[in-house]
Structures are given as C-alpha cells and as structure tokens.
C-alpha cells in the first residue's frame, strides 16, 4: 500500500488530534479576526436602533445548554443594545433547559448595566421574565391571544397583572417584534404561528448548522433578520461595538475550518493519485 492509499484510509483519530491541537493553539494565541457584516444581521440591529425608547420587544430565548456557546453571545449583545436603547424586554424561554440560562443572562446583563454603565435596570419596569411552559406551539398561539393564558405568573411566581411594565400589555399586538434565539426546531412554531397567524415581526438567531435552512423565510419576509451561529453573534457584537466571546471564538472557528479544508484537499489529492495509479476503482 503506497503513501496516498494510506492517507485515504487515515485513522479518524488523527483528524481528531489535529483538530484538537488547532483549537488549543489558536485559543492560546491572541490576535484579532476581522468580521464582515452581513445584511441579514444588520437588519436586526437596524430594527432595534429604529425603535422608540419605552417600546416593547419580546425576546424568546429557546435554547439548550448544548448550543449555549453560540447562542449566549447573541443574547448578551442584543439585550445590552435593547437596554441601552431603553427598550422594555419581555423574556420567555420555551425550551425545557432554557430558563436557568435565560435568567442567568438577564441577571448578568442587569449587573453589567449597573456596574459598567451606571444604569439601573429594574426588574418589572424595564425587563420581565415569564419563564417556561411546555408545548411551544400552544404557548405561542396563546401569547398571541393574551400573555396571561400561558403565563398568569412570571418566572418568580409574581402575578403578571401586578408587574408594572405588563400593565396594558395584552398580547403580541403590544410588542414591536419578537427576537428569537434558538437552537431547536421550535423556530418553525414561531414562524408559522407568531408571524403567520399574528403577523408579528420576527427576527431569529440560530445555530450555524440551522441557518441555511431558514433563508427561504428571510426572502419571503416571514423573518426580517437572521443571525447564523457564532459568525452571526460575532457580527452583532461588532455592530454594538462590544467585542465579546463570539468575536474571540471566531478566531478558533476560522482556523478550524482551515484545518478541515486542508483535510478535504488531502483526501481528494490522495483519492485522485490512487485512482490514477489504479489503486481505486473508477
């Protein structure tokens, strides 16, 4: 067996080792990674910038811990922008493992607003977290009727009617739009029910592997913005001028992709050389 035939049958553990080494080395080295802004991300940013202070946005954080690395940076960047613009945020989390992370993000953002920017964000006046309820399709349909059907109380068991910022807020008609950050197929419910039935303006932040599936909805206008994976999060961080974990992680992602491309090229060169030598069937 010649060299190229051996390369074709390369043990996958070598691939894992090289990839792991690339990730560790690039993490240890610090250098900036330029980010190019895509229009589908810019439109989410422009939407928030165009809102009047005091208006409402529904922020749906429907992701699991598995996709936290991609989703959390989006959540932080968008929440900071919303609060800096004095937009009131209604949060929900329709993923079973989501509420803990959503609450953590909310508390961290409230702390950083106070400590870093000297701005007090008051729970119940600037932001409210309604929590989790099972069966996202049903919950979304019910929120279109009245938030109180699915969420008579918020995450902390406070009656929604007694929360100051929820006075007069009945359903999706009272919010300017929904920004959904999710790593689950629950996004289909939001598109079909929130946008389809209630005409809610909807923007989505998705994992990198999901993003390509939702371009049709972007073109049809069912969603007005799309942030795809770590890149989408890094673009948003650049837009809000606050480089964070996604911008850092893009460095690793870029070089990991280079490693994968090199492996693909090696695989193809080996394949063609072996075929020419008659080692592989045509």
């Amino acid at each position: 067996m010649d060299f190229f035939s051996k390369l074709i049958g390369l043990d996958r553990r070598w691939v894992f080792l090289v990839l792991g080494a690339v990730v560790v080395i690039v993490l240890l080295l610090e250098f900036p990674t330029p980010i190019r802004i895509n229009p589908e991300v810019k439109s989410v940013y422009d939407f928030v910038e165009g809102l009047e202070p005091g208006s409402y946005v529904h922020l749906a954080l429907d992701y699991d811990p598995g996709t936290l690395a991609e989703m959390h940076p989006m959540t932080y960047a968008i929440m900071e922008q919303l609060l800096a613009r004095k937009i009131k945020i209604i949060m929900t989390s329709l993923s079973p493992n989501g509420p803990g992370m959503a609450e953590e993000a909310m508390l961290n953002i409230m702390d950083s607003a106070r400590i870093l920017h000297g701005r007090e964000v008051v729970y119940g006046q600037d932001i409210v977290f309604l929590g989790y309820k099972p069966y996202p399709g049903i919950v979304i349909l019910s929120m279109g009727q009245n938030y109180r059907i699915s969420f008579p109380n918020d995450y902390y068991n406070t009656p929604v009617d007694s929360i100051p910022m929820m006075q007069g807020v009945i359903n999706f008609d009272n919010v300017e739009g929904v920004i959904l950050i999710t790593g689950t197929s629950g996004v289909d419910f939001w598109i079909a029910y929130a946008n389809g039935r209630y005409n809610v303006r909807l923007a989505v932040g998705l994992t990198g592997v999901m993003a390509a599936d939702y371009y049709p909805y972007l073109k049809s206008g069912q969603i007005f913005g799309l942030m795809g994976g770590m890149l989408g999060a890094a673009e948003y961080e650049k837009l809000v001028n606050k480089l964070g974990p996604a911008s850092e992680a893009m460095r690793v992602q870029v070089w990991t992709h280079v490693a994968i491309i090199v492996f693909i090229l090696i695989g193809n060169i080996s394949y063609f050389v072996s075929r020419r030598k008659g080692g592989l069937g045509k």
């Binding site: 691939v15 894992f16 330029p34 811990p65 803990g100 069966y135 349909l141 019910s142 890149l231």
Partner: protein
C-alpha cells in the same frame, strides 16, 4: 360506536379549527381560547405519560439486566433527583442543589455532546467530500466556499468568496429548501385531510 365517536370528534374539531382561523369574531376567538386551554391540559397528561413510560422502560432494563442497564440507574437518579431538588419543599428552582446540578452537570454535558460534533463533522468531511462525480464536485465546491466565507485573511478574494457564498445560500439553497418546505406543507395538508375525513385511522390503534 367505539370507532365512530372518536372519528366524529376528530371530524368536527378538525373542520371547526380550520374554519375558525378565517372567522375574526369574538365568539370564534372565545371558543379558540377555550380549545387552547384544553390542549394545554391534554399536553400535561402527555407529559405525565412520557415520564411513566420512561420510568417503566428504565426499570424493565434494570430488572432484566439488559445491555448497559447501569445507565438506566443513572437516568432514574437524574430524573427523580432533579424533581426532588426542584420541588417546592427543597427551595424549588432557586435551590442550591438544583442550580448546581444544572450549571455544573447538565450544561457541561450538553456542551460536550454538541462540541464533539465538530470532530465527527471534520472526520466525515475528510471521507465524504470527494470529487468522484459531477454532483459530488458541486457539493464539495459549495462546502469549500461556505467554509471560506468566514475567513478574513483572503484579502480581495474573500469579497468574491463572500458574494459567492451569499449567492449559494440565496439562490440554489433557497430554491431547494422552498421546494422541500412546500412539499412538506402539502403533505401535511393531505395527511390532516385524511385524518379529518377518517381515511387515516392508525392513531386509534388496531382494536
């Protein structure tokens, strides 16, 4: 009557919900909200059924000592442990143990599982992306362009690759996805009609 009554309920509610969507009247909306409440209640029963089914499968595995039965013990401890720590009398969602299990067990486990995908995708890409036919070459080139669109070190070539990646996402990808989505949508309508009209009856079981 054992079959006719469920068929009649499905027919009436199916037709009603389809018509209700197009009737913007307060009575229609009231009935819709009422049905939504019912759906939530039925959903909660489904959740209980799911937990019962899971416990039964896991305990059967332990009793029969089938392959990897030890993992079922861990699964049951995880289920009941989180229920106990998350229940009201131990502090509920704010309890120390519930939070720590979530932050230091569930989050790292999920993140690890998802992170491992990167390694398997790299290995699969090395083996699968071979230009052995015209279609495979198209797939290979598309994958390379989409991966390179992230790369900021390509200078002016990067602009062209970025534009090519946008074109791939917005034209061929869009066309294929639309075809799939419309196909799925029509399939769902056809299946729903078959259920409403009683042609598709497998949901009632074989009795």
């Amino acid at each position: 009557m054992k079959r006719e009554i469920p068929l009649m309920i499905v027919f009436v509610t199916g037709i009603f919900m389809a018509v209700q969507f197009f009737v913007p009247h307060s009575t229609s909306e009231f009935v819709y909200e009422f049905v939504m409440d019912w759906t939530i209640i039925i959903g909660i029963f489904a959740l209980a059924l799911g937990i019962w089914s899971f416990v039964r499968v896991a305990t059967n595995k332990i009793k029969r000592k089938t392959a990897n039965w030890q993992f079922s013990i861990v699964a049951l401890i995880g289920l009941f442990g989180m229920i106990i720590f998350g229940s009201g009398f131990l502090g509920g969602l704010e309890s120390y143990m519930f939070r720590h299990f979530f932050n230091f067990v569930i989050i790292p486990l999920h993140a690890t599982m998802f992170s491992l995908l990167a390694f398997f995708i790299a290995s699969a890409a090395f083996r699968a992306f071979r230009a052995h036919s015209a279609l495979a070459t198209v797939l290979l080139l598309s994958a390379l362009i989409l991966m390179l669109r992230f790369n900021p070190y390509l200078g002016p070539v990067g602009e062209y690759i970025g534009d090519a990646a946008s074109w791939i996402l917005n034209v061929p990808n869009l066309a294929a996805k639309r075809a799939i989505i419309i196909g799925i949508g029509l399939g769902m309508v056809a299946t729903a009609l078959k259920v409403i009209l009683g042609i598709e009856r497998t949901y009632m079981g074989s009795d």
